[in-house]
Symmetry: D2
């Protein structure tokens, strides 16, 4: 690492996204972890709040204020939706602000307002460098919007097929997520007793807030509007998303081999996207804790559809890993610094 | 119960399907459980093989032979695919034989051979009485083919939309199943260490054997061939399937309320199919151990699709519950005898 | 059932204990379910609160008031600790009040005050009929205290050894419980993300409130004070408790066979207590949803200890099943009415 | 890293222990991973066998032969019990052989034969450097026996209390383990359907093979024979062990603070043993994938016992992490190279 250490603050460090940023940065050789902040539990011992982060056990959670966050080179925001804009505005332009929340992801103000019901704060460079054109916008950026977890995996899973013109822009996504995607706030429907031994659907019918974000990403790839039918499922595991994405073939004669070629080509230079060996289908366990995306694709001849499946760790590459990856790009560090493609299995 | 007790044998009683038939029949007031048979573990104590079935703890598993099975009024077959035909042929025509396996489900011999790679044994009355015309064929039947678990929930979840002409015959199914659907044979990929904290896809691209069975059911409802894109997922729970089924709307102006009306009408007389209150989406936990199917439906206006979600306990209504329900119909007993719509939650 | 239907109200019906009472009573041929009451969610549809209880889907949760509860033959209380006494006092003496809470379990006021920090409300007949002398006190009772889930299984697992004088009164209990024992109130540490893939200890060192209840039960069996070291664990499953209980042998020469004999003798007449075949150790899955207790016992010669293991469904025989069993005894109905020894596995 | 790269072979690399060694070594800056070997699946693609280890996806599993293993500086053995001795004997004395199996753990031949039923192969330096005297024996060693997972956590959890003379040598251990401890061989009782939603006891009564290993460790600490009552539980999670260990106090007046002081002192210099803040009890999630051990201890005054709880990742610090730690010590590398105290939670 040729540069001096980068000082980093994490706002929302007692939550899942913030805790995962901290976990990853503890393994990042170029970073010094500074302030860890929170809201209602400021003043509490970090060792009690995040006992898995032993090297930070003696820290105390500080309040999320401008004063506390100032003076760091990089500030990660793991805040509830709607709270990032104010803080970001107050921080100096030279501070790299990386927002794990939704506030600055959507470019279309009307779409934002329809799905989030609040005024649009604007849009920042979008932290999914594996999509065409996005990496360039992240280099040197000082404001970055980290993608949503569902949009990350849904977009990467079908982008090559759209990009290569293999399918029509009419995409069906069913994505099964672990529970950490819903955050750490106590809610009855997220209790262990409710989610174990249980799969449920929610946000069905196009109403989930990640739907327009997926459509925005795919429009960028396809060069045309893409219809997205998105259904999220909650499954009994803490981490991981598996997205099943399909779309009608443009040419009924397209083969599975041709589909695989398109995927291999699209991600040939991407170190975090791994097209599995033929016949091996993705499983979330393989990417736990890692920044990897695993993909597989085939063609259903009888149904005339291309079917692709992708997995991601919603907290890692789906949130905090992407955030660290984007920090690396923004600062000109090697993109994989502090990140791994090795998952924790079984 | 005005009739005398029905004597029942269960072949394959040490497996999941056979064990669930036994569990249900222990609560059936009109049945006397006779022989419990198995293959490699014949001679073992049933109390060791199925310790949850306390009233049968002193039984011993007998071999699956014609001699042992003969002399019962009803014989349930929970055997590996391909083993039912021979036994069924040898049993008297008057014995009610209810096959939980696949051998007699498909009517089209060519389709059978394509997906199962063996000669077609024929087809029997199909044990999904909630589909149009099926209940009539089951009354008095002495040979019954119990549907596959995925076909049961996939078909019931979209049938009303097809039946009412709300959608085009181009159906996308993604169904998340608990592990018991894969049976009790020891396989590395089904180890607890492999499936816990993990979601995986398998049989992607139209190759799963339940695909043609779904298509056969839906053709019967739609009156035309139905294209089915079917993707099964394995999720970390022992029981339950949640199917997300969608299809393009015929009329873009169809409302969610109209869709709900079609579903309410289609199942108005079905005691085991429960359309959930508006806004409540199905979860598998609600149907554990029960014979109920829970459904919900809406319309995704932006995507122009109807989206329906259904849940079933794959071992209960998805297999053994359907088997008992069919026995009741065949014998002229009240259809719900020994069955419940009450699930075990949490 | 020769008697007319018994009318029953359930206070706290939106919680886990109350919901389980409702689930069991739906299968009880002698009961009509009357008022279902709650606190903060009174007025809500029961079909949304407890979607697994389909036959009650059209009910509305009523407020927990004397007016609503009055007029039923039996009232089940599934209320937070400390709320039962006032309601119980206001209900007529002739109403059978069955309290699933802790208020009336302990006989020693000083012990109550030490562990619960509030004035002692008194004690009622204790609803664990399998303990010596308890069943007699329940016949005809109109006030019954249902045992805690840990005390039920801990006491039944070691009682025969103490009763037969095989062990010294110095008992070590480590009991692993599913999460539903902690109730349905939303707490961060009970979120699915926190409990899945995780085992934790809590209430270590004799401070858990169930400790004195276990000691009280065992004193009744042993005829002397019994030292109880109790450690509860939270394990990633919704239901079930497995208790490992050991104590020093009085006679180092005691054999496993002698221990088994003592257990077989102690529970020879108990239809819900099942001593497993030799060499088979209990698993919680076998008792899910059932009123059964499964036990096994052996001797560790090298350590000089008797070691017994027991399992129970904490919500069923551990709470609501015991409540229904006690109602049956109190009313003179067959004790097993509406209950089963058959578990839901896998 | 001052030394040149160390070349390493892993025998049994398709199993859980071997896979975890590979996972950790991928993050070890001083190691080059050489041969990956297996038995029945030699010749298969490693990318299919261990899809989470992306950087090794293009490798092929080689057969476990002397020829393949020779020529590496270090050989890790993740073989079934009884297969290590022959290979170890054939490898050059200068090769560092680190055995994750049991063959060389026990020093007493009679005890080995009683519990394993085969001739004793001998004993090697024991890879639990946190126990008194063990680290010294590992420096420069070329044969190392990695401890069993249960012995690791059971021993570390109670050692300080025995070492400080706080408790009598009469220890009760109940340890709840995830399923990966049972290995990757396909067995019916380890199927996901059998273990999810389920806790079971096994090897009860002093018959588990890890019992004498715990006793051997504790004898070394206490300076006298220690009676060990050990009960293992299988709980529904892939990884992690939580051990609850208690013993009678020597002095009834010993306080929890005194117990904590003894633990703090015993592990003051150990970077992988973390005594949690007062009042925080261990949970396995906090150590997933890490080499950390989390401990807490208290005193149960009423029961006159010290109660300690410890957690470990059975595959990491419980097996493969210890193996890597021992390699580091043997080679004179910094002990924590390639290891972390940061767990993967939630």
């Amino acid at each position: 690492m040729h540069m001096s250490q980068v000082s980093v603050a994490i706002a929302g460090a007692s939550g899942y996204a913030g805790g995962e940023v901290a976990r990853l940065l503890l393994g990042h050789p170029g970073v010094t972890i500074g302030a860890l902040t929170g809201a209602s539990n400021a003043g509490e011992s970090f060792g009690r709040l995040q006992p898995h982060l032993v090297p930070l056990a003696d820290r105390v959670l500080e309040p999320t204020t401008l004063e506390v966050l100032s003076g760091h080179d990089v500030v990660f925001l793991g805040l509830p939706h709607g709270q990032s804009a104010e803080i970001a505005k107050a921080l100096p332009d030279s501070t790299v602000v990386i927002d794990c929340g939704a506030d600055f992801r959507l470019t279309d103000a009307a779409v934002w307002e329809k799905f989030y019901g609040s005024p649009h704060a604007g849009s920042w460079p979008y932290g999914l460098p594996e999509l065409p054109g996005q990496r360039e916008a992240l280099a040197g950026a000082t404001r970055i919007a980290v993608p949503g977890c569902y949009p990350t995996i849904s977009s990467l899973t079908i982008a090559p097929a759209l990009g290569a013109g293999l399918v029509t822009p009419d995409v069906t996504v069913v994505a099964a997520s672990g529970t950490s995607g819903a955050g750490k706030a106590a809610k009855t429907n997220l209790l262990g007793s409710e989610v174990m031994g249980n799969v449920s659907a929610y946000g069905v019918g196009g109403v989930h807030r990640h739907t327009p974000e997926i459509a925005q990403n795919l429009r960028g790839v396809a060069g045309t509007d893409v219809v997205v039918s998105f259904t999220p499922l909650l499954v009994p595991m803490p981490r991981g998303i598996l997205a099943t994405v399909s779309a009608p073939l443009v040419d009924a004669g397209t083969t599975a081999a041709q589909a695989r070629e398109a995927y291999a080509a699209a991600y040939a230079d991407e170190q975090f996207v791994h097209l599995l060996p033929e016949g091996i289908w993705p499983q979330t366990q393989s990417v736990l804790g890692s920044n990897a995306v695993h993909l597989q694709v085939t063609v259903d001849e009888a149904a005339g559809r291309l079917v692709a499946v992708g997995v991601v760790d919603n907290l890692a590459k789906g949130t905090a890993g992407a955030a660290v990856q984007c920090m690396n790009i923004a600062l000109g560090l090697p993109e994989a610094t502090g990140l791994t493609t090795v998952g924790l299995a079984p």
